[in-house]
């Protein structure tokens, strides 16, 4: 891990069509009091950042497939290198879709099984705390967190899924308020109720729910703070 004294330095990549970068900035800068900068998608140098975030939105209008065009943005070459060197990469919603298209995470997104854009609070269960993004959580804990997407129907072929399970790469699953992963608790038809996955090296996480939108009880929930608190724990010196 890139454990350093002081706080993690965050970079939020802004693509044409991103629309959650300001919320993400608010969560990191105002709520967590951590250093953060925007990174325009034409940037090719990510030196100086410890954690790069691909925010939600509709990069390149979601043309062709979600994330399919953004994945070839100039910055994505740098994100690939950054991730390969162990840098922390968090893709939220559209950012998750971009990471899938880029091959930084296994699987692909299909249109929601119900064909509708779904924007609401729901529950996810924490499946692993063995990531820099979830280390401050409790395994099996239920988070109340919002989603807002039309293509969040996660798919992986059976071999991929088996490999992900073997390596503990499923990070969040949609569940009921009581923590059960039922078909009714699945908002989009995702395989195995999957809401978030990480790579094998555990430094890249993609998640459909928005942890930047629930950092204060006044917003309906403060459970999203746990993601940012986990990340900031990384910088408190343990590796």
């Amino acid at each position: 891990m890139t454990a350093t004294a002081g706080k993690l330095r965050f970079g939020i990549v802004v693509f044409p069509g991103s629309n959650c970068e300001a919320d993400t900035w608010h969560a990191i800068h105002d709520e967590m009091d951590a250093p953060v900068e925007y990174v325009w998608h034409e940037e090719t140098n990510l030196d100086g950042y410890d954690c790069v975030i691909l925010p939600g939105g509709f990069s390149y209008g979601d043309y062709l497939r979600t994330g399919a065009v953004a994945r070839f943005s100039p910055v994505m070459g740098a994100v690939q290198e950054f991730a390969a060197k162990g840098g922390l990469v968090l893709g939220i919603c559209n950012g998750f879709q971009i990471l899938l298209e880029a091959g930084l995470l296994p699987g692909a997104m299909l249109r929601n099984a119900g064909q509708k854009f779904v924007c609401r609070y729901l529950h996810v269960r924490v499946e692993t705390t063995d990531t820099p993004f979830t280390r401050e959580m409790t395994k099996g804990a239920v988070l109340r967190i919002p989603i807002a997407h039309g293509e969040g129907n996660y798919y992986a072929d059976p071999d991929m899924l088996a490999e992900m399970k073997e390596h503990d790469q499923i990070v969040f699953r949609y569940c009921t308020a009581e923590g059960e992963s039922t078909p009714e608790a699945n908002p989009n038809g995702s395989l195995d109720n999957i809401a978030g996955v990480c790579n094998r090296d555990r430094n890249v996480l993609g998640m459909m729910p928005h942890p930047e939108r629930c950092t204060d009880p006044i917003l309906g929930s403060a459970d999203g703070r746990l993601v940012w608190e986990s990340l900031l724990e990384v910088s408190r010196g343990d590796s």
Partner: protein, 77 residues
């Protein structure tokens, strides 16, 4: 100059919710004997030279996602 036509469909193993909904709508309209309706994408472009391999490469890199989609190419002068 050649015209390349690319037809991209979801793999047969993947449930096509949109296709199922449209198929049901056709049934509701009274069209019986309609099944296996699949919805895909159609891409048409003018390319220099009749280079099948190059168009296939475009499909693998960008036009289709091999995890979820199949593609078919038609090339004509």
């Amino acid at each position: 100059m050649a015209t390349a036509r690319v037809i991209i469909t979801l793999k047969k193993t993947i449930m096509d919710a949109q296709g199922q909904t449209v198929e049901k709508a056709l049934h509701n309209l009274g069209y019986t004997g309609v099944s296996n309706l699949r919805i895909g994408k159609y891409v048409e472009m003018t390319v220099e030279g009749r280079d099948q391999e190059r168009v296939e490469e475009m499909c693998r890199k960008l036009l289709a996602n091999p995890i979820i989609e199949d593609f078919r190419i038609e090339l004509e002068e």
